[in-house]
């Protein structure tokens, strides 16, 4: 659905979770299968009300394994598809997420993070699933993972998530957390500057010529809808350009390299970051998600004390935005990486630049990292 300019923009007070629904619908999502779980349940609840009125389909599945299977199937049939969950459900989704990756099915999985492991802290925020989002399913695979920090983000980045899924034929994981998901902020919808919508490229050849997994310059094969007359064999086994199982080293190596290459080709648009007061920064915070809000505040507080502080927000966590992170590490005499986990993305920052003076700050007790905590740490760098 492209929003037309005649639509009168209106202000709404929405939760982050509600904004994800609005973003998904604006991106053209018309299929949702899921199993409600705190703190993501509002997404399923609102989808169940809105999708039927738009000609879409909502299904409450028996569990998260089935939810993931259903959205893979719906996307193969041509519908932009979404599911939403939190830690325990995300764990169950990993197997079929691998299947979606192997079969290059565009879809979006929202994980509104809560404290884990297991059922953990159902109502408390956390950022401890960032490595699971990258490596939760087994085997080498390429994946896109995005993280949101506000209601405005939750709308816009959800649209980007669908766009990237469609453009690169890949599952995209959207990470929110209990704080962002349940914070209400004012948002104008439709936005003054609508986010462009992208759809998957369909085959332009006659059905008998179609090869569903054939390489091209972008590394992204055109995708025919199941049932549209194009032969489209789908398997979780390693497969050749026709989609049939083939375990030869040439096919296997070529397939995996293409998975990584297609995202590398699009790195410039995939690796999204936001910068705040970094131009003359001597110390910097690098973080993502809800902690970004505290980081901006802490940087402002430090600036008031004459400390040249800056902030790099990672919107895209995977593929890890190496260039942007390295630039900050080179420029600043010290870099602080606060996370609401025991230290996950900080490993990646360290791997990018081993010469940087790196400080990590972690909170993993279900509480929020406040600006005051960050400010004190910044002042001591």
């Amino acid at each position: 659905m492209q929003s037309s300019s005649e639509d009168q923009s209106q202000k709404y007070l929405l939760q982050g979770n509600e904004a994800i629904v609005e973003g998904a619908l604006a991106a053209g999502c018309r299929f949702f299968a899921g199993y409600p779980i705190t703190p993501s349940s509002e997404i399923a609840e609102i989808m169940s009300r809105k999708l039927p009125t738009l000609g879409g389909t909502f299904i409450q599945m028996e569990d998260e394994i089935a939810s993931m299977g259903a959205i893979v199937g719906a996307s193969l049939a041509g519908a932009k598809s979404l599911t939403a969950t939190s830690g325990p459900g995300f764990s169950l989704m990993q197997e079929n997420l691998g299947y979606a990756s192997m079969t290059e099915v565009p879809l979006v999985v929202v994980n509104v993070m809560r404290g884990g492991p297991s059922t953990g802290l159902p109502t408390s925020p956390s950022q401890a699933d960032v490595m699971q989002a990258r490596w939760g399913t087994h085997g080498d695979h390429a994946i896109i993972v995005l993280a949101v920090s506000s209601v405005a983000d939750s709308y816009e980045i959800t649209i980007q998530a669908f766009n990237l899924a469609e453009k690169y034929r890949t599952p995209v994981i959207l990470l929110s957390d209990e704080i962002v998901g349940h914070t209400r902020e004012v948002i104008s919808l439709p936005p003054d500057q609508p986010v462009p919508i992208f759809n998957r490229i369909k085959p332009s050849v006659p059905p008998e010529w179609y090869l569903p997994y054939e390489d091209n310059s972008r590394g992204v094969p055109p995708m025919a809808d199941i049932g549209s007359g194009y032969r489209h064999h789908v398997t979780g086994l390693m497969h050749d350009a026709k989609g049939f199982p083939n375990f030869s080293p040439g096919v296997t190596g070529g397939f995996l390299k293409r998975q990584y290459r297609k995202l590398a080709n699009g790195a410039d648009e995939i690796q999204m970051t936001k910068q705040f007061m970094l131009d003359d920064a001597e110390v910097a915070i690098i973080t993502y998600g809800c902690v970004s809000r505290s980081a901006i505040r802490a940087v402002r507080m430090a600036r008031e004390q004459g400390i040249k502080a800056g902030f790099l927000q990672l919107v895209t966590l995977w593929p890890f935005p190496k260039k942007a992170v390295d630039a900050v590490c080179r420029r600043c005499r010290a870099v602080l990486v606060p996370e609401m986990n025991m230290g996950q993305m900080v490993r990646e920052v360290r791997a990018v630049n081993q010469n940087a003076t790196l400080e990590q700050l972690n909170r993993f007790d279900g509480g929020f990292i406040t600006p005051a905590i960050l400010f004190r740490k910044l002042m001591s760098l």
Binding site: R184, T370, A372
Partner: protein, 208 residues
Amino acid sequence: MLKRKSKSEYVMKKERYEMRFCGSGGQGVITAAVIFAEAAGVFGDYYVCQTQSYGPQSRGGSSKAEVIISTKEIDYPKVVKMDCFLAMNQTALDAFFSNFETDGLLIVDSTFVEQVPTSGAISLPFTEIARELGKEIVANIVALGAIGYLSGKVSMENLEKAVIARVPEKFRELNIEALHAGIELAKNVNVDNLSHSPSLDDIYGHTD
């Protein structure tokens, strides 16, 4: 002793205004916070951020909601220093009073709050008024009227629009009546005549 700004002067000067609404589950403090946020941010021109306690305690036990109102984009979404605090009962008042700004507004429901932690508190009988209107459940809207008027952050017109937009049509009249009862209560309060709660400085000279 330092000369303090009057409370109304203080409110006007604030770029970022931080509010907390609390009571027991079922007293409607979250609804009041959401309506306030909509009056300020949807019908008014402020940036707003509204959060709430989310957990088992929100189904029974104390309930807490926060609203941040700002003329600039809001970074940190939660309360750092409370400028305005509405407490609908004693337990919630005692539990959530921390981070109160000395010059802030403390408004309590005198129906359920017997003791206040600062001499500058404003005690108004929200629940009693609601009972008189026929439904105790609208005590939150009576309080909303008072807090809306006293905070000076929303126009009464926008507050009314926000109530109408949130409340089912069947109960609209009752809620509007409750809102106006709250506004009338607040009109009798002169915030500039309230005694300031003393700071440690005021009592001990210096605290360094």
